[in-house]
Symmetry: C2
Amino acid sequence: MDPTSNPLDRLLEISELFRADMARAFEGTGLTAARTHLLWVLAGLGPSPQQALAGAMGVSARNITGLVDALEAAGYVKRSPHPTDRRATIVSLTDAGEVTMSDMARDHANLSTNLLDAVDPADRAALSRGLDAIATRLRALIQEEADAAAVIR
Amino acid sequence: MDPTSNPLDRLLEISELFRADMARAFEGTGLTAARTHLLWVLAGLGPSPQQALAGAMGVSARNITGLVDALEAAGYVKRSPHPTDRRATIVSLTDAGEVTMSDMARDHANLSTNLLDAVDPADRAALSRGLDAIATRLRALIQEEADAAAVIR
DNA sequence: CGCGTATCGTGAAGTAAGGTAACGATGTAG
DNA sequence: CTACATCGTTACCTTACTTCACGATACGCG
């Protein structure tokens, strides 16, 4: 009955809390959510041309230029020439960037554990299933909307 | 074992999906997440001075000026003089704004139902409890960090 | 080989959300 | 009445995005 206790509103609240927490965590590090996302993608792909990062992040190539500029200036990332394609530049993590990423992975794992600890063990499996179901449904809804919009065009 | 199936990652994914869905839903309406947030707060508070909106949204007064400018230009909101304090202006929803907000409330309720429908009825109570627990824990963690940061200053 | 076309990264310029600092107009307490 | 606080706004900065244009380069094809 409490209007703020339905799952949708809780999820929206949790989204907002994540956002606030990340903003706080990055204070003074020269990092931001977008830059960190790039680092995360880069750690997953390994050294990549900017084009590949744009594709993986679903963002324009121009935007990658700006994010890489900032990360390079802050020392997390470096640019080097592509060995065979002289148009392309390869972006890779610096040693400092690698360290940052492993710290981040550790923090991420800790947070995961910490949050899960807050949940009654008896509820965990259902929570996990429920979140999977919601994510799947959400993905489907967004896809439907995208298809509907495509027809109009 | 699947690294993408733990609750934290699911929650982050769901956050991202919400963001994408909202951005898509607002296309061509002159609305954005921030502007809609203001409308939402305004609908909750009723006609308010900009100061009150800034407080309620946790954002600078300057930013409210900009959001109200945009919403006023799009016809969702109007400014009128405060009856007793000539420094202040009162922001209120226009008729069009009221209609938009009730449409939005309806869509919100539909989405809530739709997403919950995707969850096995047997899992719903546990999901709800789990989300509450996670939100509570997250709030506590953020508070701790804020306190820790306050000590340093 | 040469030519057209596609691709890579970036300059230029725009939009949107945020922030701080300063200021004029006004309210309010002493 | 004078000092101080508050309200909204001007001016300016940052970050994250976009599109468009362009130079340099790769590449397929006749």
